[in-house]
């Protein structure tokens, strides 16, 4: 069987599955980015807050999720998460199991890790804001919600973008470990294909190339986005 047939989209080719796997990896990472954004925001808020308890909790969270191997986090969420969901279901009178599907468990696990890193990114971005700009907003009578929406959030996002790019790349690669939960993302599909065809080298290379494709394309997207939002930072000449 030629390499083209094996990798092709024909009945004996693995191309179709690999494409689905690519999309699955992308989807896991995207969902984990969103989950991580929610956690990261809360984490940054906790770490910046005046309450010592909250700061301690925030610190503990980010230490734990940055200090424990990703593989362990994934296992813990995959198994522990199901028990938790089942227990919650039981409390509401649901009999039997409420499984956490491997996609959700994987995205949640990667999201929990991503959240720990995003928390640091947002905290740094927040501290980069010039306090005078917030004060200027207060001085024209903006209320708290408006200041948050119009001044704080846009600036945090702008400063956070480069850091978020790094977290995204990290999550993309962490998502390969979700393969241990049986989710058919790039890593697992490559392994299954490698095992079935006994073309180990070929499929691991293909898997690696698919990841490189994802990281380099998304890297370029982040770079372009940074360039766009960085317009207001650069010492160049403004557009318009």
């Amino acid at each position: 069987m030629s390499i083209l047939t094996i990798l092709g989209f024909g009945p004996t080719g693995w191309g179709g599955l690999l494409l689905v796997a690519l999309l699955t990896t992308l989807a896991v990472t995207l969902v984990s980015l969103v989950i991580g954004a929610v956690i990261g925001t809360a984490l940054a808020a906790a770490k910046l807050s005046g309450s010592r308890l909250l700061r301690l909790l925030g610190g503990t969270y980010s230490t734990v999720f940055r200090g424990v191997p990703e593989l362990l986090v994934i296992y813990l969420v995959y198994f522990g998460g199901s028990s938790a969901v089942t227990a919650i279901g039981g409390a509401f009178g649901y009999e039997g199991f409420l499984g956490l599907p491997s996609f959700l468990a994987g995205a949640l696990a990667v999201g929990l890790i991503s959240g720990a890193y995003q928390g640091e990114v947002y905290r740094g971005a927040f501290l980069a804001i010039v306090p005078g700009e917030i004060e200027a907003a207060r001085a024209i009578g903006m209320n708290k919600a408006m200041r948050l929406r119009r001044i704080l959030v846009p600036q945090v996002l702008r400063f956070a973008l480069p850091g978020l790019g790094n977290v995204w790349q990290l999550s993309l690669k962490d998502s390969a470990l979700v393969s241990v939960t049986g989710l058919a993302e790039i890593m697992r599909t490559s392994q299954v294909a490698a095992g079935s065809t006994r073309q180990y080298f070929l499929f691991y290379i293909v898997g690696g190339v698919l990841f490189l494709l994802l990281t380099s394309v998304s890297g370029q997207i982040f770079e372009a986005a940074e360039k766009r939002t960085g317009r207001s930072l650069a010492a160049g000449i403004g557009r318009n």
Partner: protein, 256 residues
């Protein structure tokens, strides 16, 4: 509870018991048997692939309802999960490369019967212990075979655990390990695909040592499901379905 759909898990990488097709569907002896059983029980079955070494944990965590992955029925496992009646019974054996000096150890080609207390083939085991001293034996993690190898060979040989059988076979082929120990019908199929000529060495080990056969793994609570499957399996054994599928996939009869 009314069972309308049942989720069955297999590894999808333990040919010919079960395997993954290029289009992502699962094939092999067990998927085809499952199709028959579900048809018989009039329930809809969903097959999902998952990792062998975490299957029992996942079953109890509710990730799926049934394990159908050449899982031997043993007392150890019965403490945690329930089993259906066996739908197959196979031997286990050592494999090695044909050009290895471990090939053709005394008793190759015969079958010995051992009991769960490891009795029944003391002479043959002793001969193998002598032959395998200082060698490296590869097993699939979390199998009954792993326990057997640790107990009977762990003191004289290096044991290495693999996540899948296929990866272990690869290391046998490349010479990283000297011996593999696994289900005989699985190994026989693996020989055909292997890149280097390999075969059994030493006797095939049968009897009840590895349990009374391979059955479906079920959660203890799902007694109704077990009853349904028991009936279906008995029917499949009675009408010759198991035998036919066995000939098709294993070229031998594995009916218990």
């Amino acid at each position: 509870k009314e069972w309308k759909t049942v989720t069955i898990t297999l590894e999808g990488a333990y040919a010919p018991w079960n395997l993954t097709n290029p289009d992502g569907t699962l094939g092999g002896f067990e998927p085809e048997l499952a199709a028959y059983l579900c048809e018989h029980m009039k329930v809809e079955c969903k097959l999902v692939a998952s990792d062998w070494d975490s299957m029992i944990t996942s079953l109890n965590a509710g990730k799926f309802d049934v394990i159908m992955d050449a899982m031997s029925i043993t007392e150890e496992r019965q403490k945690i999960i329930d089993f259906s009646v066996p739908y197959a019974h196979t031997h286990a054996a050592f494999a090695t490369l044909n050009d290895s000096d471990l090939a053709g150890v005394e008793g190759t080609g015969t079958v010995v019967k051992m009991l769960p207390d490891y009795s029944g083939a003391d002479a043959q085991i002793e001969a193998m212990r002598k032959a395998f001293e200082g060698k490296t034996i590869g097993i699939q993690a979390a199998t009954v075979y792993a326990k057997f190898i640790y107990d009977k060979f762990g003191d004289i040989a290096t044991v290495r655990e693999f996540k899948t059988g296929a990866k272990r076979d690869l290391d046998l082929e490349s010479g990283r390990i000297d011996l593999a120990f696994d289900d005989a019908v699985y190994l026989k199929a693996a020989f055909e695909k292997a890149g280097a000529p390999m075969g059994f060495t030493g006797p095939e080990i049968g009897g009840t040592i590895f349990g009374i056969g391979e059955g479906l793994g079920l959660r203890k609570a799902d007694t109704d499901l077990k009853a349904m499957f028991d009936k279906a399996i008995e029917a499949a054994l009675a009408d010759g379905t198991v035998a036919t599928l066995s000939q098709k996939w294993f070229k031998t009869d594995v009916t218990p």
